[in-house]
Symmetry: C3
Subunit: 204 residues, 3 copies
């Protein structure tokens, strides 16, 4: 089941990248590069910062092939149907949950402090999009006040995992509940358009 | 004393990041992320390029907590007082001096050539701001001709350190004089608005 | 001969960086930094992702000196002659050929799969410009549909090298023919203004 979620999350990450790149009128080189960054950017940054090698997409080398295929198929479609994002919200939220937990767990095993481990979890789940946005010459969506809670959900989920570990909850239950909290808060934020705007962002 | 300078420099780096992010109307996620980049970006890039692990902010894990606190406090303030930058110039200049010397010294110990070591010193002192600017979708301030000498001060200070080493000046004296030169040239450049505009930048 | 091509390619990469930075009215700090990124960015990213240390420009430390000299000389010239790009196309194409083959070969030796190795070849040859463009706050030229084939030439050349290896072609012949194919396709694309626009980029 985790593999299914992972593949779905990689594909939906790649599609977000494709949408981003096409909005910028890029050609296939740009579409593939940006899709690659949105899909693998967060995990790659985590592994570089933690010095974990070989990188996951070098080790599991069918990952880049999947992204290439998504970019190639998308490039054959003259007009990507409007509103396709709506179908991506669920796989994306599942991927956010999965990658946040994986990233936090990896950082803990590299013996970082809990706070830093949660930051790595958030980074794994969210920074692919940031890198893709930067490459597309955009202010990262993740940093904008009008974006429904995203990093915040990962942050809460990461601390849930840490809390479960403190309470000696068995691993499977800990992973499951932390990931569920990420997914539920993310879907709730999307449904009710909850943003961090009220907290911490002021007109200037 | 070095620890005091370091903390002050990290805090002032974080405040610069906060100002940058708020000018772009970012929410707390953006404010914290950009503050993190401006504070730790230069040193992180240095350590990645030199393959030094664990990274300093993973090892000294209260660093990210400090930046988080700065970002959180700043986010509770609806209107950051204008002209606050003026109070940051001194801690920032001290931080530039400290980090340039630390960066140059680290690179020398990794047995780079003097020129490359100085480049690493400059990078440590200045590239946090560059990374923060890029994440905020701005042309880096460091690269703009209207910016008072900044990288140049670090460059001069780095060569001072190298020169002291050639002359067998004892370490403490070498560090002290190199850092002093960075701080003095930086404050002078700010006071008299000295830029590299005259040298090397031409209207086109 | 390879050394000559390499030096010429580094210099032409640096000049492209200088042109980019000056179009953005940067001062010497910006000109040198961007020239450094366009020259060494692709290879540095490759080595970071593959965990190869020390980096080539730390080991062969006269490389950064060459880029510094190019940036310094360029900064003394008030007006860079228009159309200078035309003289850079040949050394740049030769460099693209050389770096693509070198990057692919290095990745193969780190036992990546052929597809990933070709991606590393393309990255080595082309991502310096992408990083330089991002630092200059531009949508990367490489990703734009109006750019004559560039990454595509490297991609074809990388697969040529892989194909030669499958056919047990001796190394020198394999390197030579793969590099030649990169150079010839690149010069052809420039001559006839061949773009990927027709494939995969649609008005939206």
């Amino acid at each position: 089941m985790m593999l299914t979620i992972e593949i779905m999350a990689v594909i939906s990450g790649a599609i977000f990248g494709v949408l981003l790149a096409r909005r910028k009128q890029m050609d296939f080189v740009g579409v593939f590069s940006v899709a690659f960054m949105t899909s693998f950017g967060g995990g790659t940054l985590r592994d570089l910062l933690l010095d974990r090698h070989p990188l996951f997409w070098i080790q599991y080398a069918w990952y880049p092939v999947v992204v290439f295929a998504v970019a190639a198929i998308a490039s054959l479609i003259p007009r990507i149907p409007a509103g396709i994002e709506r179908f991506l919200y669920l796989p994306d939220a599942l991927g956010l949950g999965l990658f946040t937990i994986v990233g936090t767990e990896i950082a803990i095993n590299e013996s970082t402090t809990p706070f830093v481990a949660v930051l790595f979890g958030v980074m794994t789940g969210t920074f692919g999009g940031v890198i893709g946005d930067i490459a597309c010459n955009e202010v990262p969506t993740l940093f904008r006040p009008a974006t429904p809670l995203y990093a915040t959900c990962a942050f809460i989920g990461g601390w849930t995992l840490i809390g479960c570990k403190w309470l000696n909850v068995p691993d499977t239950a800990a992973f499951g509940s932390a990931a569920t909290i990420v997914v539920v808060t993310r879907l709730t934020a999307l449904r009710f358009n909850l943003c961090l705007r009220a907290i911490g962002s002021w007109p200037e």
